[in-house]
Each structure stands twice: as C-alpha cells, then as structure tokens.
C-alpha cells in the first residue's frame, strides 16, 4: 500500500508498504530516517519515541497505515521544531516579569545549580541543536546514545507543556524510556538544565 505522511514538516510518500510494517520500519528503512531506534520493538523501551500529531508514541507500535495523512516528528526534526516553536512564541520581554519582592518558589532547579553539572559546552553560542539536545550534551546525558533520540523527543514534549517540571514530573514523563548506560542522573540533570535555561531566557 501507499502511505502519505508529513515527517518533520516535509510531505513523504512510502510505496509498497506491507500491512504489517510499523511506522518505525517505514521511517528507518523506507524514508532514510534511522534516528528513531529499534531497541525492543515491543513498546517497552521508548527508543523509537516520535510524536504523532504532537503526541509521543512508540513508533514500533504504530502500524504504518495509522500514520497515513498525519504529522510525525522524529529526532531528526527536533532542532527545526524547537526553532519554529521559539519563533511562534511571544518574545520574552513582552511577558510581564513577576514582581521582584515575591519570588515564586521554583519547583525546578536554578541555572546556577544546573550549570555545575555541565561539560564545557562544545559551541554554546552557535548551537544548531534544539535546547534539549544541547543540554543532553552539556550534562553528559549521552553515553552509548541508543536511548537518546527517544528520550529527547519525550523530554522536549515535557518541556513544551511544563516549563518548570519538578523531579517527579521529569521521572514520570520519562518513565517509558529505558537507558542502560547513565543511571538516569545525567538525564535528569539535562532536563533540569534545559528547563532552567528556558526559564531564564537563555
């Protein structure tokens, strides 16, 4: 069968798709987008997490036909998506700042604390990466990296809807993404770092 879908903002067509093929297979093997990973193909590990019409899903559990005429966002499109999102948002200076004498108790981590985990960023000024991608690098959240694409898509979606997540919020949002290398601490640091940078306008 033929499947028409939009992937990372671009219309795509896959021909000769067998009915049993997953969205993951079509992305990886037919559309040349192997960034979404195939660690379990049972919906247990989250390595293939993509967004289908904005909602995080395991691409291995979505039949390719179910993605027909729908929009898919993969790790390959994450940086563009973040840029678009930033452009669509009102500029920071238009947002009324809270009065200085009534500081909100921040549920997240402040930037100074978050920065203590960073590696010296590779190229912080000119990063073409999404903020969550840069934060993963800076916090040392990438080892073998096989879980990374799925985690990035899931973490980016979390921060899109929750600007200052608590630690328990982060854990809950990423509970479907297995990582075998890091022990998750650096991943927590990365999400805290990205949230702190966003909340402080940088």
């Amino acid at each position: 069968m033929r499947v028409n879908l939009t992937v990372n903002g671009r219309p795509q067509t896959a021909d000769d798709v067998w009915e049993g093929e997953s969205l993951l297979y079509v992305l990886r093997e037919r559309l040349g987008l192997p960034g979404s990973k195939n660690a379990c193909e049972q919906g247990e590990c989250g390595s293939c997490t993509v967004r289908l019409d904005g909602v995080p899903v395991c691409a291995c559990l979505v039949a390719a036909g179910q993605a027909h005429e729908r929009e898919v966002l993969t790790v390959e499109g994450l940086a563009d998506h973040a840029r678009q999102r930033a452009a669509d948002r009102p500029a920071t200076h238009d947002t009324p700042a809270p009065p200085p004498d009534t500081p909100e108790p921040a549920p997240g981590t402040d930037l100074a604390a978050a920065r203590s985990w960073q590696a010296s960023p590779a190229d912080p000024a000119n990063s073409e990466l999404a903020p969550i991608q840069q934060a993963f690098l800076d916090a040392g959240a990438v080892q073998c990296g096989f879980c990374t694409p799925g985690l990035l898509v899931a973490a980016d979606e979390l921060l899109e809807r929750t600007s200052e997540p608590s630690d328990e919020d982060i854990r809950e949002a990423l509970a479907g993404n297995l990582c075998r290398c890091t022990g998750y601490e650096a991943i927590m640091d990365a999400v805290r770092l990205a949230a702190a940078r966003a909340s402080q306008g940088g």
Binding site: A119, P121, F146, A175
Partner: protein
C-alpha cells in the same frame, strides 16, 4: 553507490577541545543527539539482503533431520544455510572453541542457532525460517550442579582437549580454581564467632539497548568487509576467519556504532552468520536481532550459588574464610574460565584475611551460556561476602561499617592469592566518605506548608499506583564495599596498539589517533583525544574509526581501555614528541641554546621549555613533515594462578567502590523504593570527571537492577521471559538520586595514576541495597533479585 551509511564518516565529528582532567564533551555527542550517528542496525547497502537465524526451541535435543525445501520455495529467499554448508572451521569460542557456528546433530541450549536465511525483506527471512522443519528428539537437560555431576550425567562436551580439561574434577566442570592460604584449621580455634550462609544470584542480562547487528559486504577479492557492533574487533577476527576459511587479511572489520555492551558483545553473535550468507549469495547481508532474539544472542551473567563461612575473634578481626562458589556456565564455555578466576581471587573481598580456603568452579549445563558481564565474577562474590559482613557485624554487636573498617584491605596487605596490593587501597576511607554523606530527608514524599501536608505518592514504594500514602513504610540503610580487578589477568598478554600521526593541516598542527578500541558508549573516544591533546599540545585531534587495519586494542571490558589503550596512545604520543624535538633541534637548534639544554614540552601549539619559554611554533617545526608512530603497549605482566593453591601475582590493578543505600519498604506489599544510592569510588585520576561520574552512576544502577528487578527466569533450561515486558531493567522511576564522591589516589604503575572505573560500582550497589532492605524488614534475604514475595512471605 556503495554503503551509504557506513561508520567512517558517521561516528565521529570532533568539536571538543579539552585535555586530560577536563570534562570535555564527547566527540560523537552531536551525532548522537541529532539521530545521525550510524549504529550497526542503521547500516544500509544497495541491494542488501536481510539475514535471520532459526534457533532451537529446546534446551537439549538431538537433531534427527532438517528439511529446508519449504523455506527455499519462499519467494525472495536467496539462501538457507545449515551446519552442512559450513566451508571450514565449524566451532568457535572466546577461550575454548566449543560453540558450533550452526548446530550439527545436537542442540545444547534453548536458542542455539540451527540455520540461517537470507531474503530481500526481514519479514520474508523470518517467515522462511519458520518453514524449516527440524526433527528433534528431546533429551533431559542438565540444569544444575546435581544433574551435571550425577553418575549417569551425559558429558556435554566429550573429548575435551582444552587447557582446563586435565585438572577439572568432572568433564561437566569447565574450570575449577582453589585458593588456599594460611591455616584455616588453626584459625578456626581462635574464632569466637562463626557465621555462615548460603547465597544465590539470579541470571542477569546485559540488556544493552542496541541489538546485535551488522552488515557483511562481500568483496571482489573473495574476502568480506564486516561492519559490526562488538567489544573487541580482533578477538572476533581471530574466531571468524577460520570459520569463513579465509586468511585474516581478507576479513576486514570496522566498528560501527555500538549501543552499549556491558560484556554481552565479547562473544560472536551474528558475525559468522552474516559473513557466511554474504559470501554464499555474493550480496551484502544485514542482520539485526530483535529484543526477543537478543536474549538468546549473547551470554549472560553467571547465576551462582555460594556458601560462605567467616570466623572472627571477639574484637571483630576476621580470623578465617572458607567459601565455595558454583557458577552456572551454561552450554558453552565463553569466558567461564576467567570468570572462575575472578570469583576465586576476589572471593574474600576487600578485606585482609590471613587464612582462606576458597573454591570456585563453573559448570557446563543446558542452561543459556553465561560469560562476561560488568563485574565479571566479582559481582556474585561481593553479594555473598558483604551479606556475611552484615551478619558478622550483627553477631559481634558492631556497626556494619565499623566491622568492615577493622578488616579493611589497605596498601601493603596481601590478597588471598598472596599478591601484595602495591597501590592505594582506600577501603576504609571510601566507607567513611559514603557514611558521612548527608542523609536524604525522612518522609521525603511529604511537602509541608501552611495549608498542611501534601503527599506525592510518586516518591513512595508503589509510585503512581498509589498503593500507600506512607502507611506500612519503613526506611532502611545499608552499606557495602567491593573490589574488582582492572585489565586482563592471570598472565594474559594484555596489550593495545596505537598509531598517532602529527602533521600540519591548513596551517594548524593536527594529531590523528588510530586504534581498534571499541567505543561502546563509555567515552573512550573522548578520553583518547584528551590524551593526545595533553601530550602533544595541539587543539585539533581526529579519532580514526576503529578497524582491523591496525593491531589489536584488546577488549572494551575489564575496565581496561582508558588504562591500556589510553596508555598506548600516551606512549605513541611520547615517541611522536621526541621526533618533534629532534626535528626542532635540526631546524632551529642553532637559534636558541635551550633546544640543547632545556627540558622541552609541547603546549598550546608550541615547543616550550620547562621554564615556560616558547622556542618555536609546532607548525613551523613540522613544516611538511608527517610524524607517524605506531606502537604496542603493555601494562606490567601478571602471572597465572597456581592450579592447586591459587597463589600468584594475578591482577594488574584493583579498583574499589563503596555504596550506601537508603530504601523505603512497603512492608505489607513487599514493594521497595530506593531513595538514594550514594557511591564513593577511588579512580586514581579522573581523566574526564563527567564521564567518570556517568560510569559510576550507570554501574550503580545495573547493581540496583540485580538487587530488585533483573533475572532471566530459566525453567528446565528454557528462558521464560525474553522481553523487556518480562525482564525488567530499572526505569528512571526505579532509579534514585546517585550522589558520587570521587577519590583520586594515584596508582604509580598506571598512566596518569588512573584506575579503571567502569565495573567496581556495579559490585557493591547490589549488597548495599539488600542490606538496607534487611535493615528495614529484619528478613535474612539470601537471594537476588529480591522479589515482593520474599518480603511478604506469600
């Protein structure tokens, strides 16, 4: 078009700049966060076929016949191969060549490969494999020590000629290593307190996320190019070339992106099968295991049964230890002999005990083959001896840390092998540090403000399920410490090869580093570039993809690559540096007397004196010269252990870590929440502090998995839970905060004083967590993983 996604250009994109001691970012990091990093399962070649493996559904069976006719009729199938099609050597193995490439007349374990298929779509290959008809006659499997050594037990590998065959007590014992030292009988008399226990460890899986995969491309010269995820290219090559009937120079291997390893990629998996199919069909063949197959595609951590007895005098000094460690090696030897050596030589733990009687052995059974996994024999022993320490402390009325302190190993003390520990062994200090860390707050699930108390059930045992709001929840704290060897031991010629080339490119001095080191995620590529930057004073370092065009780097295991391949790179850089100075003296020596008299260094792209005076730009010294050095480098030699007494200088280096676990247990439901898992570890020198912390946290989490979650359940030799639905590894919800205290006491024998990092934290995490659960519940808990029913008695 050739291979469009091959690793050469898609696993490296160096932007990083830091030297030794800095938290330089990974050179492969950007590619990994953009999705462009080429893992083995991402490879693609025009006209490629997909390979699939047919595996035995039985643990032990005779193969009476194999009928391929139905499979060969499936449209899209290019080849179906069995044992009968093998062109040359029919068996391979890491230490003993006992593993069939494809089973001939018998299968010895569930999942053993019987046939391989190549087809134009992976589903076609799977369906064709399902049409192969194998007539099996099932046999009664050997599943434990009793059935392996029974008088009528079948000998699983008759006619053994391996190095251990002559000294084992039974042919179903792969290897046995006793260690005796001192006089246990005399020490027993001095012991006021004796504690003993039987302990059991379940079968743990490495569960790396990137499945076994690779792409084999047949070459015009009759050879084959293999792009593969492995831990040791040259070990694969040594086993693979004889199977293909090719000289090693016609089997060219390149490392592709590796999605974790943890020991599970030491043995061959799909390498021989993909190459055989590629050579047979004349087409590129890709093989990618799915998760189900991955559970059969690699060896696991040896399950173990251990009996320990410690005797101590009333002052808390351990007088003697006796123990017996029985490891289930499964159907094939894999790394079992070396695992036995580790379990025995590290069986007493990081304690100074003068009188020991240790026996460790591995069995051949019809269970899944077991071999290397992070911690390698030391993990099993650590759970037993640390459980014993807590038991002994309780019997003596001492704090668990105090008992350990009184018996802690230190520099200058002897191990049970008689080997004197000749570098820092800060066992007591690590325990002191981990105990001194601030405790997580009590009732951490409660937030209190003016409005009253708010409970976040996600911070409680049971989590989101909301099974408790704090009622029935008891906190416990536990401690443990462990010792792991670094590097290959027992006389193994453990070396690495590095090539370093220095030249001027576009006006800048650039160093290129080429080794066969397998980057499996640990960050070796980061550290190797840092070493070259520090030694050569250059900013630009290119890490060449790992392949077999250079000599062996040894395995990415045994916590050894930073030490051994890092050492090789440093050594090659030193030789390059000498050549630079020679060149400088020839070109500029007459300009400044310091060229002849001063100690010279390379820093910031210049030749400088030890007084800090710049003599020349490195680029000017080099000119058009290309300095190119390739060298092997070895750490100091070790000795084989005596087969009867276990005495010998067996290990290169020891590595120590200690944990403190804080758990909360819902005692009614048997649910455990690890609240914090603090670790203190001596790393000698942290070449990249961020990577070191990541290794410690990752290793600790695998220890947490063994404590609470992870076990391959095997019944009558059959694996019951080969999926991530039923084999549970820790999620981010299961994993607590892991504060890390890094100690840096230099080992004078090692490059930069460094100590291998990766494995030690995996050891002590498990017993620390179980000790904490014991403290909370008062239960003895002799087996890991601890399951809810062990806590509720249901």
């Amino acid at each position: 078009m050739g291979a469009t996604r091959i690793p050469a250009s898609l696993t490296q994109a160096s932007q990083a700049r830091g030297g030794v001691g800095e938290s330089t970012p990974r050179p492969d990091g950007t590619l990994k966060v953009t999705g462009d990093f080429a893992y083995a399962s991402d490879l693609w070649h025009e006209d490629m076929l997909w390979g699939h493996t047919l595996r035995s559904p039985h643990a032990y069976a005779e193969i009476r016949s194999v009928d391929l006719s139905q499979a060969l009729r499936v449209p899209g199938v290019y080849a179906v191969l069995t044992h009968a099609d093998l062109p040359a050597a029919t068996h391979y193995g890491l230490e003993i060549a006992d593993q069939p490439v494809l089973a001939r007349d018998v299968v010895r374990c569930h999942g053993e490969p019987v046939a391989v298929v190549a087809a134009d779509h992976p589903e076609t290959a799977r369906r064709a494999a399902a049409r192969i008809v194998v007539d099996y006659r099932e046999l009664t499997p050997i599943t434990d020590e009793a059935s392996a050594l029974a008088p009528d037990a079948p000998v699983l590998h008759p006619g053994r000629t391996d190095a251990h065959a002559a000294h084992v007590p039974h042919p179903n014992v792969v290897h046995r290593q006793p260690i005796t030292r001192g006089d246990v009988a005399a020490a027993r008399v001095r012991a006021d307190i004796v504690v003993s226990g039987d302990y059991e460890i379940g079968m743990q899986d490495q569960a790396f996320l990137g499945p076994e995969s690779g792409l084999a491309v047949p070459a015009a010269d009759g050879g084959v190019d293999l792009y593969v995820a492995t831990q040791w290219l040259h070990s694969d090559l040594r086993q693979l070339a004889p199977v293909l009937g090719l000289p090693e120079d016609k089997v060219r291997m390149t490392l592709s992106g590796v999605g974790g390893a943890f020991g599970g990629r030491e043995d061959l998996s799909m390498q021989a099968h993909a190459c055989l199919l590629a050579l047979h069909t004349g087409k590129p063949v890709k093989m990618v295991y799915n998760r189900f197959e991955s559970f059969f595609g690699h060896v696991h951590r040896h399950p173990a049964r251990l009996h320990y007895e410690h005797g101590a005098s009333r002052d808390g000094v351990i007088q003697y230890l006796t123990c017996r460690i029985v490891l289930d090696g499964g159907a094939y030897a894999s790394a079992s002999p070396a695992v036995v050596g580790n379990a025995a030589s590290l069986g007493a733990g990081p304690y100074a005990i003068d009188n020991v009687d240790i026996e460790a052995l591995a069995l051949y059974t019809n269970n899944p083959p077991c071999g290397a996994m992070r911690g390698f024999g030391a993990v099993q022993a650590c759970f037993a001896y640390e459980s014993q320490m807590d038991k002994l402390a309780a019997a003596l009325g001492l704090h668990p840390v105090e008992l350990r302190r009184r018996n802690a190993l230190s520099q200058g003390a002897a191990m049970p092998t008689g080997q004197v520990v000749d570098s820092p062994a800060p066992v007591a200090e690590l325990l002191r540090r981990v105990r001194a860390m601030p405790m997580p707050p009590e009732r951490q699930w409660v937030t209190a403000d003016e409005a009253g108390e708010t409970i976040d059930v996600r911070a409680l045992p049971g989590g989101r399920a909301g099974t408790t709001h704090g009622e029935g929840v008891v906190r416990g704290v536990g401690y443990a410490v462990g010792v792991k060897n670094v590097g290959f031991s027992e006389g193994f010629d453990d070396y690495s090869t590095a090539r370093v080339r220095l030249q001027v490119v576009a006006g800048e001095p650039v160093a290129a580093v080429h080794t066969a080191m397998a980057e499996v995620g640990q960050g070796g590529v980061t550290v190797h570039a840092q070493i070259a930057r520090t030694e050569l004073g250059v900013a630009e370092v290119t890490i060449h993809p790992a392949d077999t065009r250079i000599g062996s780097a040894g395995s990415t295991s045994a916590s050894r690559q930073t030490y051994v391949t890092g050492g090789a790179i440093r050594h090659a850089c030193e030789l390059v540096r000498e050549r630079v100075f020679d060149l400088g003296r020839a070109r500029f020596g007459s300009h400044h007397p310091a060229w002849a008299t001063a100690e010279l260094l390379l820093e910031g792209g210049k030749v400088v004196t030890d007084g800090g005076e710049a003599l020349a730009d490195l680029a000017d010294v080099l000119g058009d010269e290309v300095i190119d050095v390739e060298r092997e480098w070895r750490h100091r030699p070790t000795e084989a252990l005596d087969p009867h007494t276990g005495q010998g200088f067996g290990h290169v280096q020891y590595s120590f870590a200690a944990h403190r676990a804080v758990v909360e247990v819902d005692t009614e439901l048997g649910l455990v929440k690890v609240v914090e898992l603090a670790c203190a570890q001596d790393v000698g020198k942290a070449l990249n502090p961020l990577s070191v912390t990541g290794q410690i946290q990752g290793g600790s989490t695998q220890g947490l998995g063994l404590a609470l979650l992870e076990e391959i359940v095997v019944a009558d030799g059959k694996v019951r839970n080969p999926s991530f639905t039923d084999y549970l590894i820790p999620t981010i919800v299961d994993t607590p905060s892991i504060p890390v205290d890094v100690l840096e006491l230099a080992d004078p024998h090692a490059p930069y004083g460094l100590r291998g990092v990766g494995e030690a934290p995996t050891l002590s995490a498990t017993p620390a967590i179980v000790a904490a659960i014991r403290a909370a519940t008062g239960l003895p808990l002799r087996r890991v993983p601890v399951r809810p029913e062990h806590l509720t008695g249901t």
